[in-house]
Structure formats: structure tokens, C-alpha cells
């Protein structure tokens, strides 16, 4: 793995050993069309890891591989080979891994209020009722929706609905927060604001995030590490660490340079002009 340095600060020493929240080893998944002999591989020998408190992105073209990978990690889709391990946060007693998931569309229950939607997740995760109120208020404040508890989702804008989805995911105090192209359905201006707000949340709550996107620039701006992926079948071909202190500015020249190099490489491999 290469480390791309941005800015003047080199990495110092080996650093503390961070525990891995998610470890995926040699994951594979195939799909057979019933009644025919065709069998195609969706995921081919995927290995990745996400350390606790870090933001890791997977960048690749839109297609079934990336979402399938997240679904497998989330435990709602089966896989054929390899292993997936989600560990509880350090310092918490062993429990079933708590998975927070923010999808491309908010996937809110429109007949429940904003608070009701978060309560759904809390109830599902068996969080004791007395804690609900406090968690809801805290998370809504964190995503900038303080006071919106009693509104219904259909009265909110797309960006606000997505914030509720983020609040819902964070409210359960997840061991891993999975995000599947969460800003791709929003307009560019809203999406940009959401990224900044996500940076703020990172600073305050320090969640562990596995983020999937087709937008390399977005990944570079947000992540500590990037995995580049090509699809059909899905395979990781590059891993890059982004070593730039936060808060980051998207127009930072160092960041833009890095992005340029990575873009060349990324599309080069995808378009077959590079290996």
C-alpha cells in the first residue's frame, strides 16, 4: 500500500495499533442464472479492512458489486467464500455488531415522524427506552436538524431526509457506519454541504465509516484511505492512504494534485489503458 502525503506533515513512527472494526478477507460471491449454465462472479477475492474511528472509501463505477459488498458486511446478503468480521468498538462489551447504514435514498418510514423514524432503529436494536429521548435530541442536533422531531419526512427536503437517515444510523451508536453513495441523489450544492457536515460529525462523534462512491473527488476529500474497485467482477486494484489533516478544504492544492494523479490512474485502469 502506498501512502500519499499531502501537506508538510509526514507520518510519525508506527503509531498505535488500531483495532479493526471491519475485516474482510478473500470475499467472493457468485450468481448463477437458474436453469442455465451461466455463472458469473459478482465479488472476486475482496479483502479490505477499516480501523476503528477511520473513514475508508471504496471508489468504483456504479453497479451491483459495491452495494452487494456493503449488504454482505451488513449481514443481509449471503456470500460464497472468504470471511467477514465486524468487531464491536473497543471498550464495549461483546455484542452483536451494530450496523448503521445510510442508503442512496433516505429509506425513511414516511408515516412516522422524524423522531419516530429514529425510535424505530432504537427499538430494533433493543436500546432501553429511557435513553431514547436523549439520543434522538443529540443526534438531530448533530446533523443540524434540532427541533424537527415532530415533522413528517415528506415535509422535508431531500437533503434533510438524508440527514435524518444519518441521525438514525448514528443514534444506535454503531460499530460501523456503512454509507452507500449517500449524496449521489442530491444536487451538487446540497451534496457539498452534506460533505462538510459529515466532516463535522466525524470530528465530534468519531464513528467508523465505510463509504462507497463513484466520485473520486468526494472520496479524496472525505477519507483516510481509499480502495479503488473495478466491477464485473468486483475486484480491488489499488489502495491509497490519504494523509491530510482535517478539516480539509476541497480546493486545497495538495489535495487537488493528489486527486489529479489518482484520477489518471483510476480511469486508466477502468478504461483499460493501464493495468
Amino acid at each position: 500500500m502506498e501512502t500519499a502525503h499531502v501537506g508538510s506533515q509526514p507520518t510519525v513512527g508506527p503509531g498505535p495499533v488500531l483495532s479493526s472494526a471491519v475485516t474482510v478477507r478473500n470475499l467472493s460471491k457468485g450468481f448463477s442464472k437458474p436453469g442455465t449454465d451461466t455463472h458469473f462472479t459478482v465479488l472476486d477475492d475482496i479483502s479490505l479492512s477499516v480501523e476503528e474511528g477511520k473513514f475508508v472509501s471504496i471508489v468504483g463505477p456504479s453497479g451491483c458489486g459495491k452495494s452487494t459488498l456493503l449488504n454482505i458486511i451488513a449481514g443481509i446478503e449471503p456470500y460464497d467464500g472468504g470471511s467477514v468480521e465486524v468487531s464491536p468498538r473497543r471498550g464495549t462489551p461483546t455484542h452483536e455488531p451494530r450496523i448503521g447504514y445510510v442508503f442512496q435514498s433516505p429509506r425513511l418510514l414516511n408515516w412516522l415522524t422524524v423522531a419516530g423514524n429514529i425510535e424505530f432503529a432504537l427499538e430494533a436494536q433493543n436500546v432501553p427506552r429511557p435513553q431514547w429521548r436523549e439520543r434522538i435530541t443529540r443526534q438531530l442536533a448533530m446533523v443540524g436538524l434540532g427541533g424537527q422531531e415532530r415533522n413528517y419526512p415528506l415535509k422535508l427536503s431531500g437533503g434533510m431526509q438524508q440527514r435524518v437517515a444519518i441521525a438514525r444510523a448514528l443514534a444506535i451508536e454503531p460499530d460501523i457506519l456503512l454509507m452507500d453513495e449517500p449524496f449521489s441523489h442530491l444536487d451538487a450544492i446540497t451534496a457539498r454541504k452534506m460533505r462538510f457536515d459529515l466532516m463535522d460529525i466525524l470530528a465530534k462523534a468519531k464513528p467508523t465509516i465505510l463509504f462507497v462512491t463513484h466520485d473520486l473527488a468526494e472520496a479524496v476529500f472525505l477519507s483516510d484511505r481509499i480502495y479503488m474497485m473495478k466491477i464485473n467482477p468486483a475486484r480491488i486494484f489499488r489502495e491509497v492512504a490519504i494523509d491530510c489533516p482535517r478539516p480539509r478544504k476541497p480546493e486545497d492544492p495538495g489535495l487537488l494534485d493528489l486527486e489529479k494523479d489518482l484520477v489518471r490512474e483510476f480511469f486508466g485502469v477502468l478504461e483499460g489503458t493501464r493495468r
Binding site: 450496523i99 447504514y101 414516511n110 412516522l112
Partner: protein
């Protein structure tokens, strides 16, 4: 003197047509004896006669009770079965032929069979109602279950919601429009079938009144019973469902049906 232009009072067109229709009806009826072709006034007189007689209420009560029982059984069993059919593909494939066959048998046939099985009783009309309304409800709810947003179910899975929670907060709310329309159709069907069923073998009830007057060739009495009952059922439909719908669907941005 300044003259103020007065806005014309507009009579709603529907009301005007209705009044004209009533007048036309009354005029037409003058050409026939009231027992063959009663006018609106005669009909009103007959209805008043019926409803001022306390014995009538026993008859009406009988019919209402049977309707309610048939309707309730059909809704409960139909909804449960419809949900299972929508969620489990194998159950769906296995039973869809049975449901189709049930739907194809005309009400009158079930009415006959029920009487042959249970004789002149309460059970016969109730069974008839269930045999007809149950498949309708199943199909409606089945369709609704299949139309559910799979993404929401997936979201619930990710957060590890258990079966009960999924039903309460994800499945049933999505089914509400279908449950609602089923309730309306089921009730509407139930009372119409109750009449047919009672005509053949209940011994009493409004359906029995209808066939008795039919056999006596008394159109006026038959219509008086029939039309008044129709009005009652339509009122129930309007009041119960419109009012209830407003509350259940308050979360929608525009006013629901």
C-alpha cells in the same frame, strides 16, 4: 343611485339534476298503479310505514348481524391469508388456483350450497358471505403485500428489526390503503350478498322480505325495503370510511381519499 351587481346564486348542477329526476319519476309513476311502479312519494310512505313498525327492526337487526359476522370473518381471515400469500411465494403459487375457483362460483350457487349444508339458519348466509368476500380480500391484500417497498424491508433487516416490529411499523402501514379499500369493498359486497343469501334460506331478514314481496308482486314494498337499506349502508360507508381515512392518512402531503 348606485346599483350593486348581485352575484348570481348558483344551484349546484348535481342537485338540479336530482330534483329534475325526482320530478320526472313522480310524473311517470302517475301512469302506473303504485304496486307496480311507485313514485318517490309512495316509496317514502311505504318506508315510513316500515320504520314505524317495531317488528321491522328485528328483521333489520338480523340482517345487520349476519353482514357484520360475515364481513368480520372475511376481513380477518382474508387479510392474514393475503399477507402470507404476498410474502411467501410457495404459498402463493399453491393457493392461487383455489382462490380463482372460489371467485368463479356465483353467489347464488354458494347460497344454495350453504342452505343444503346448514339448512335455514344464520350459518347459511354467513358462510355464503365469507365464501365470496374472503377471496376478494385475499387478492387485494395479496397485491398490496407484493407492492410493498422492498427497500424499506431491507432497511428494517439491516437494523435487525424483529418480525413484530416489522409488521407494526413497516408492513401494516404500507398495507393500510389496501386494507382500507378492502374494508370498503368487503362491506359493500357483504350486504349485497346477504340479501341474495337471505332470499334463499334464512327464514327472516331483509333478503327474505325482498323475495316475499317479489313473489307477491309488490314492487312498492320491495323497493321500500331495498332502497331504504341501500341508503343506510351507503351512509355507513360514507361516514365511517371518509372520517376514518382522514385520520389514518394524515401524514400524506395532500388530503387522502
Amino acid at each position: 343611485m348606485t346599483s350593486v351587481k348581485r352575484s348570481e346564486t348558483r344551484i349546484p348542477p348535481g342537485l338540479a339534476t336530482l330534483v329534475l329526476a325526482l320530478l320526472a319519476w313522480e310524473a311517470l309513476s302517475l301512469f302506473f298503479p303504485p304496486v307496480i311502479f311507485p313514485g318517490p312519494w309512495t316509496l317514502l310512505e311505504r318506508m315510513v310505514a316500515i320504520y314505524s313498525d317495531p317488528a321491522s327492526y328485528a328483521v333489520i337487526g338480523q340482517t345487520l348481524l349476519r353482514i357484520f359476522e360475515g364481513f368480520a370473518i372475511s376481513m380477518l381471515a382474508g387479510t392474514a391469508f393475503g399477507i402470507v400469500m404476498g410474502l411467501k411465494r410457495d404459498v402463493e403459487i399453491f393457493f392461487d388456483t383455489w382462490i380463482m375457483v372460489l371467485l368463479t362460483v356465483p353467489a347464488v350457487c354458494w347460497a344454495f350450497l350453504s342452505v343444503l349444508w346448514f339448512g335455514i339458519s344464520d350459518a347459511a348466509p354467513i358462510l355464503t358471505i365469507v365464501l365470496i368476500v374472503f377471496p376478494f380480500v385475499v387478492i387485494n391484500i395479496w397485491e398490496g403485500t407484493k407492492a410493498m417497498d422492498k427497500e424499506l424491508l431491507e432497511m428494517g433487516s439491516v437494523y435487525r428489526a424483529d418480525r413484530r416490529l416489522m409488521f407494526r411499523k413497516v408492513i401494516i402501514p404500507q398495507l393500510m390503503p389496501y386494507i382500507f379499500s378492502s374494508l370498503r369493498i368487503a362491506l359493500s359486497l357483504s350486504w349485497k350478498i346477504a340479501l341474495v343469501a337471505e332470499a334463499f334460506g334464512a327464514g327472516n331478514g331483509i333478503g327474505q322480505e325482498l323475495i316475499n314481496w317479489f313473489q307477491d308482486t309488490r314492487v312498492d314494498m320491495m323497493l321500500a325495503w331495498g332502497v331504504s337499506f341501500m341508503i343506510v349502508m351507503v351512509l355507513i360507508d360514507l361516514l365511517a370510511f371518509r372520517l376514518w381515512a382522514r385520520r389514518v392518512f394524515a401524514w400524506r402531503p395532500q388530503l387522502a381519499t
